[in-house]
Symmetry: C2
Subunit: 348 residues, 2 copies
């Protein structure tokens, strides 16, 4: 077989209605649907994949460093190995793969790259293997890397349907509107340093449904939030989008706190952001900004372009200079051979 | 009418299953039953009450300072006025009242005195008026000061039944076991300084049921916790008491966080206490201590006397020297005339 190579770029997304709690750990099937914004290439991961008979084994480079594929604790290599394995078996190609990935996230953003990297990898690898996969199938494959990667496969305003089937074939992401539907929406990201996580997201997805007594109400609440936010996005009703976004973030962090032992990602600086945004909205007399926190340290504040300066200034007062602004994007795309991170069969 | 005076001492309590959320704001009727430990006189409020025709108006002194009874925002005087009013109408006595109250809480404990003060006031005033009220009736009267005061009327291990009636006559506290049933139980209290509350408990009791979507599950969870903790106390099963105590505190703070705007009393130091107690219990291989947080800054850690030093030492590492230890007590009691805070009709 000839060497086959492809390159794609992917971007992160920010969930406005959160995924927290799995019904299946192997297939990564969620207890509830979620809703997100796919961000533009202000933050992006570029991934090149080569399949070649000349390779003796699979290997993965991230930001110039080779990853140990035999370390079961290395999430990056476990994720990449899983996607390559699925696509290889779909295509019938048996060659080993070289995966090279670089992130252009500002260092201060402190982002996890599993979403942008997962979306880019799924697209590049399926292209290299000649598989003609639509976004729905790509998202089902990326879902097995992480819930967030599943949503990053689509552009703009994205819903990830929980689905009901045991095999996960109805649990996929789709865009309900492209970024161009409402280009004023932006995400102002404030970096909040924090101690190392006491518990990983992966453990939390299992711990919370098992131990939180309040969690029994959560999946129904999230489904209702998804239904309402889709309608609000279609109407470009920012007030409703903002209220659901803040409530859903609080709801997820509440069931985390109700887990046993409790999971707490919000610290005193996060709380300061929360109160600052409520004060800003009160001062404006209408919601112009909405905070949302993932299972990590950064505060994301969703707002509209015309309010950018006010929001950035409020966040700088609390979080210092580590503030990044991203718009919405259309999801992953293929790059030309010229932009490949693999030249003559080796990482550039 | 001759001047009539009585004096009582009351103590605080710490709820292990929390009261958060009212079904009636005027009568202070709770959405769910709660469970508490009445503390001993390490922390106490002494209250003397005099009814006299020579008084031109009701007046209240707390820790030597006169309180403005015409200020609707002064909770202390509003509470006292309410109880005096109820008891006056029950007794038919029309004389004005002088109430003098002193707290002997260590300054560092930063305790609210509404529970200990409410219990002492209800007992002293009903004694002065010659009303022969049992603890159940006293607790119904004190409940109208604050939920916590209702429980401080009884000793040892106390349940406050939510009740179902609209008039509140079945919403009262009772002791399920005296302090002597399990005298090894202690409360190690760590003072955690915090910014001024953004929202009062009183506002929170209304805001949370109205705005938290997870709250719909909370009353049922709390009732189940009460049922299980009563059984565990009867069996002196500390492991179960500890687990329910920690879970219920987390559950209450979770629905607070899920309120809109969110209510957050736990700060980074509270979180450090939470993780330190989980680490201590893990190291011991069995729960020897349980944290619980009210709508305020202090961490209460319930443990047994034999583990006191370990717990105090863990808390000192986090909270510094502001650590106070209290045992369990038998609730309020009357003091002799010699101990009155009123001499010759005026505050001593």
């Amino acid at each position: 077989m000839d060497d086959i190579t492809a390159t794609a770029v992917g971007t992160p997304n920010i969930a406005l209605v959160k995924y927290w709690g799995r019904r299946d750990a192997v297939l990564n099937l969620p207890m509830n649907s979620s809703f997100s914004l796919t961000l533009d290439e202000s933050l992006r991961t570029t991934t090149s994949v080569m399949f070649s008979d000349s390779l003796a084994e699979d290997s993965l480079y991230v930001d110039g460093e080779i990853q140990n594929l035999n370390d079961p604790k290395n999430e990056k290599s476990a994720f990449a190995g899983k996607v390559i394995g699925i696509l290889r078996s779909m295509s019938g190609v048996e060659s080993k793969a070289l995966v090279v990935s670089t992130n252009t996230f500002p260092k201060s953003a402190g982002f996890a790259s599993s979403a942008s990297g997962g979306a880019a990898l799924a697209m590049a690898a399926s292209e290299a293997l000649g598989l003609k996969l639509d976004r729905r199938l790509l998202s089902i494959i990326a879902r097995q890397i992480s819930g967030s990667a599943c949503r990053s496969v689509c552009g703009g305003f994205v819903v990830w349907k929980a689905g009901e089937k045991g095999d996960g074939t109805d649990s996929y992401a789709e865009s309900i509107a492209p970024a161009s539907h409402w280009p004023d929406v932006i995400d102002v990201i404030a970096t909040i340093s924090s101690a190392k996580k006491k518990i990983s997201s992966s453990e939390g997805h299992t711990l919370t449904p098992k131990t939180s007594e309040l969690y029994r109400a959560r999946p129904g609440i999230a489904e209702e939030h998804v239904k309402r936010i889709i309608e609000a996005v279609r109407q470009k009703d920012f007030g409703t989008v903002a209220e659901i976004t803040m409530k859903d973030s609080n709801s997820m962090h509440a069931v985390m706190l109700d887990s046993f032992p409790p999971i707490t990602y919000l610290n005193d600086i996060s709380r300061a952001v929360i109160y600052a945004i409520h004060e800003l909205n009160n001062a404006e007399g209408t919601p112009i900004a909405a905070y949302t926190f993932d299972a990590g340290p950064n505060a994301h504040v969703i707002t509209l372009k015309q309010h950018k300066n006010k929001v950035v200034s409020a966040l700088r007062d609390i979080a210092g200079d580590g503030v990044v602004v991203a718009g919405l994007g259309e999801g992953p795309r293929l790059l030309s051979e010229k932009e490949s991170l693999i030249k003559d069969g080796v990482p550039t």
